[in-house]
Symmetry: C2
Subunit: 218 residues, 2 copies
DNA sequence: AATAAAGATGAAACAGTTTCAGCTTTTGCC
DNA sequence: GGCAAAAGCTGAAACTGTTTCATCTTTATT
């Protein structure tokens, strides 16, 4: 349902040139334009509207070019998702660095969660990309470069380092549990339109986050 | 990305005959054969392997027939998922009826969760179908006939009726939260291969379930 | 300003879904 | 049993969307 066959079955045993790292500024512009267009499309019409043809039209580049930077459509969506996550993570990372190490862990966690949600709300496409991402990269058991691994690596791990009692390096499987849990709840939050529902949801998410953190460090 | 255009654009304003309820036993057999084949395919090769062509081949039915019972491929997968859920729910429903109403709520909840996971493990395709379902029916804010609504309706609601203090009819948004939470965690559980990881995961899930229940009734 | 490397193009091959005009089987009625 | 209507089935072909690749254009380098 995805891997094609090549027309006359490429005889060369070559490793099929993988997506390329842009070397000229023109290329950087093209790549960025593609990702921006993906975000815009997802924000206005949802991830299903992102077809290679459509994207080529709206950006003015040709379909073939898309495949120069992304090995397939899924990677394109994933890259767009990663882009939004990186922005959120950066904001939270800075906030984390500024937090007083003496403050109680629960308070720090609450603060970061709030900031995370605030920032995520800022990016219209993020909810749609998150959903698309979940469909593309199903929940996996292994701790490998999975779902919200980057968030764990960039925020949760440093957070625990800073606020956990003995500086226990939490085991990967529990970290993964936390990723999956928080990922879903954030998803639910972003998709909830009603403001008062959102407020209540924040409390709910907070409670479960704190429980998970407790069990993680305890 | 899904709705097609009809060839000469059907002039009739007719409501496009929707999937049919089987009236003859031949039809019932066909429908069942299709769903069974879906389960088998998902169990052995994953949901992506379920293509209309492939399904037609393995069941000996022609592609057109599939569309007599399912309006599109997604509905087919969803129907297969619903089938597995119904089996699990039935088992748990019976157990729920047999539980002593005097027992503490937490103990009852634990018991049902265990039974739920045990039964789900019994169905090889269930994990794959759950994942497919999640991709097809993204997390939605409205409480409508959503994700694990049937589970809520068939188990959680009766459960609360039986064990909750004042018989409070919990509000739909909190019930939906519980659905989403448990759905994801069960998904994670089923996808975890290592036995000792599973055991630990059960405890984790239990803790979060109890927290959610507490907040639901408290 | 010549040449190589990087980047871009787009027609066409593919995979997969969905429709529909007819064909076959079953049901119900005499 | 015989037969018309209803139910069920068929499969070629229309369609949408993805991916490849031979070829052309632009940029960097000397």
């Amino acid at each position: 349902m995805k891997q094609f066959q090549l027309l006359p079955k490429s005889e060369t045993g070559a490793p099929a040139t993988s997506p390329v790292v842009p070397r000229q500024k023109r290329a950087q512009r093209t790549r960025t334009a593609l990702l921006d267009a993906v975000e815009a499309l997802v924000a206005t019409e949802g991830a299903d509207a992102v077809t290679t043809t459509r994207l080529a039209e709206t950006t003015g580049v040709s379909v073939g070019t898309i495949y120069r930077y992304f090995s397939d459509r899924d990677q394109l969506l994933l890259a767009a998702y990663d882009g939004t996550v990186a922005r959120i993570v950066e904001t939270c990372g800075e906030a984390l660095a500024d937090l007083d190490p003496g403050m109680p862990m629960a308070a720090a966690a609450r603060k970061l969660l709030g900031l995370y949600l605030d920032t995520a709300e800022t990016i219209p496409a993020h909810s749609g990309l998150l959903a698309a991402m979940r469909a593309l990269r199903p929940i996996e058991a292994d701790q490998g470069g999975g779902n919200e691994a980057s968030i764990v690596g960039a925020i949760v791990a440093p957070f625990l380092q800073k606020f956990s009692a003995g500086g226990v390096a939490a085991d990967p499987s529990r970290l993964h549990f936390l990723s999956v849990l928080m990922g879903t709840l954030v998803d639910l939050y972003l998709v909830t339109p009603d403001t008062s529902d959102r407020t209540r949801l924040r409390e709910e998410i907070e409670a479960h986050m704190l429980l998970a953190l407790e069990r993680l460090s305890g």
